[in-house]
Subunit: 347 residues, 2 copies
């Protein structure tokens, strides 16, 4: 065959996505935002609807040898709600499609759905449709979430301005360390099935990995305080990667401070135990589903005393670049790592 | 283990879906319709948004040994647009998620997307988001489509009334016969890879299988003629199955006439060649993506001369049951077969 064949690994997942997105056109005026943010934005009268979707595959995004089905169902919803939160919107509806193989019992599918329904209750959303089908291989879960916000109050990645303050919620790196612990215990178990997993001292980090919670609480609080962030994302790929998105789309630079980065003691201790640099875990660990956002300085007073919002730096001119000031007061350039889902991916 | 284990095959795909749906609650007033129709219906000011989703897996819903990727991309969009059409709505946006294994070249993914983009152009819709990830096994495509219609003009399965006329568009059974031909040629090819497939005389039926077209033309024409059907579905599982949905949700019966059922000559001839009953193919063949709908008798005059709408029967009282009057003027009870996606499924 003389046809050109380019391996996906040669251009990487992001390269592939860029190449596919280049050819996509927007035809309708009521598509206010298509591809390129945490969710798409559609006109709906005096409101906008925001729409996001995620596709999760067994063996790629989750491992049923340690992810309980109830938790998995909850997480599959939460990761989509997190994208709705990142638009400053309130989630309203989800569709849920699953593909399951015959090796699943009805009771197992019900456990998965019990987790989905628990998340629907927790986030006050309706399951409005979906598709249930068989799979010849692993479990597949595809969820689309729809949210709503008053027109003009939706928050994009592109609105950060020089001197805005960079905020993050909660703490970071926990989900990555949880994954490390679970993978290690799995290996131990595979080598000797009679060994009981040693997880008691890691419940915080394994919980962050197995059952993350989207920060809708923060979105409701920002509303009550009258604060609309200038830009926002959820931390799914890692803090550094998300800051790169804000900088690229807002055409700004950023400076953050190592000593301001929030890390839980258990995350820190686990990183040390695994011979990993805790700050690298904070910067590049994915799946924490916290929010990173920028606010105008005038709003700082309203959030200053919030126990779960951390002020980690400020927005600079684009030409100033992207830096972290270390504890030893050295400015090091930030690198976006993000998650790589294609084995052999070069980017 | 003492836990109860029920095999999916014991209760069937529909039994499983019923069991899962029982536990789903609707919490929001603006969810006008959740599960139970071709699409969900959401309030959006003076309009409603309709939302539908489909999950397609290699080896279950398509076979890459004969489905060209370009056609597959087009079809994946068309089957969702068909659900939007079945609500009497105009499609506006889709999200597209795909999972691909490394055995795909970038060019193959681009061919799939070229089909998706061709469908987006054909149906005048925007691709507003999605997810691209890797798969350890086959190709997975998940599409969610969003459409819009003036509030009150959306059409449910539940609005058919006694004496309404039952209409179907186009012709039926072709996609099923196309599948039979493609499967036979695949077997021949597997047995002897030097054999060229003999497909020339089957282009209509294979085309119906590989690249179906959603009947948006009919939706636009009904609008121009001022006709709002009283109930509507698209023929994805087979005519009999779709009529059962209308009867169940509208609490009516139906009588259709064998001699009115539309079948193309090539579909008929192919069925005979395969020793299949052509009328069974029309009644139970899935994936034709034609529309079946009911209209009030007062609207009959407006559609009477339409070359592609066929009047196949009428709606009766629920207690009258569901019957087909054969060419020999015998009334036989209709049976819903539908598609079965779970191997070993008993329903």
């Amino acid at each position: 065959m003389s046809e050109k064949r380019t391996e996906i690994g040669e251009i990487g997942e992001f390269g592939l996505i860029d190449r596919l997105n280049e050819k996509i056109k927007v035809r309708h005026e009521d598509t206010l935002k298509g591809i390129g943010d945490d969710a798409a934005v559609l006109d709906a009268g005096d409101k906008v609807k925001v729409v996001t979707t995620d596709l999760l595959l067994e063996g790629v995004h989750f491992d049923l040898s340690y992810a309980p089905l109830h938790h998995l169902g909850f997480k599959a919803v939460a990761v989509n709600i997190s994208d709705i939160a990142a638009m400053n919107a309130i989630p309203k509806q989800i569709t849920v499609s699953i593909a399951i193989s015959n090796r699943f019992a009805v009771e197992a599918v019900e456990a998965l759905y019990a987790g989905i329904n628990a998340a629907a209750e927790h986030y006050n959303i309706d399951v409005i449709g979906g598709d249930t089908t068989s799979s010849r291989s692993g479990l597949v879960i595809s969820i689309t979430a729809i949210g709503e916000v008053e027109k003009g109050k939706e928050v994009y990645r592109s609105g950060a301005k020089e001197n805005d303050i960079v905020c993050v919620t909660g703490d970071l790196g926990g989900a990555l360390m949880g994954l490390q612990v679970l993978e290690r215990e799995k290996e131990v178990f595979m080598a000797n099935p009679n060994m009981q997993p040693q997880l008691d001292q890691y419940t915080l980090v394994t919980g962050r990995q197995l059952k993350p919670d989207a920060r809708m609480d923060i979105i409701h609080e920002l509303r009550e305080l009258g604060v609309v962030p200038t830009s926002m994302l959820d931390v799914s790929d890692g803090l550094a990667s998300e800051l790169f998105h804000i900088c690229k789309q807002s055409k700004v630079g950023v400076t953050i401070y190592e000593d301001k980065l929030p890390i839980d003691k258990q995350t820190y201790d686990t990183a040390v135990e695994f011979n990993m640099d805790p700050i690298t875990c904070v910067l590049n660990g994915g799946e924490d589903y916290e929010l990173v956002f920028t606010i105008d300085q005038k709003d700082f007073g309203k959030l200053e005393k919030h126990p779960d919002i951390h002020f980690i730096g400020h927005v600079t001119k684009e030409e100033s670049g992207k830096f972290m000031v270390t504890k030893s007061e050295t400015a090091v350039e930030l690198k976006a790592q993000g998650w790589v889902h294609f084995p052999g991916d070069s980017k």
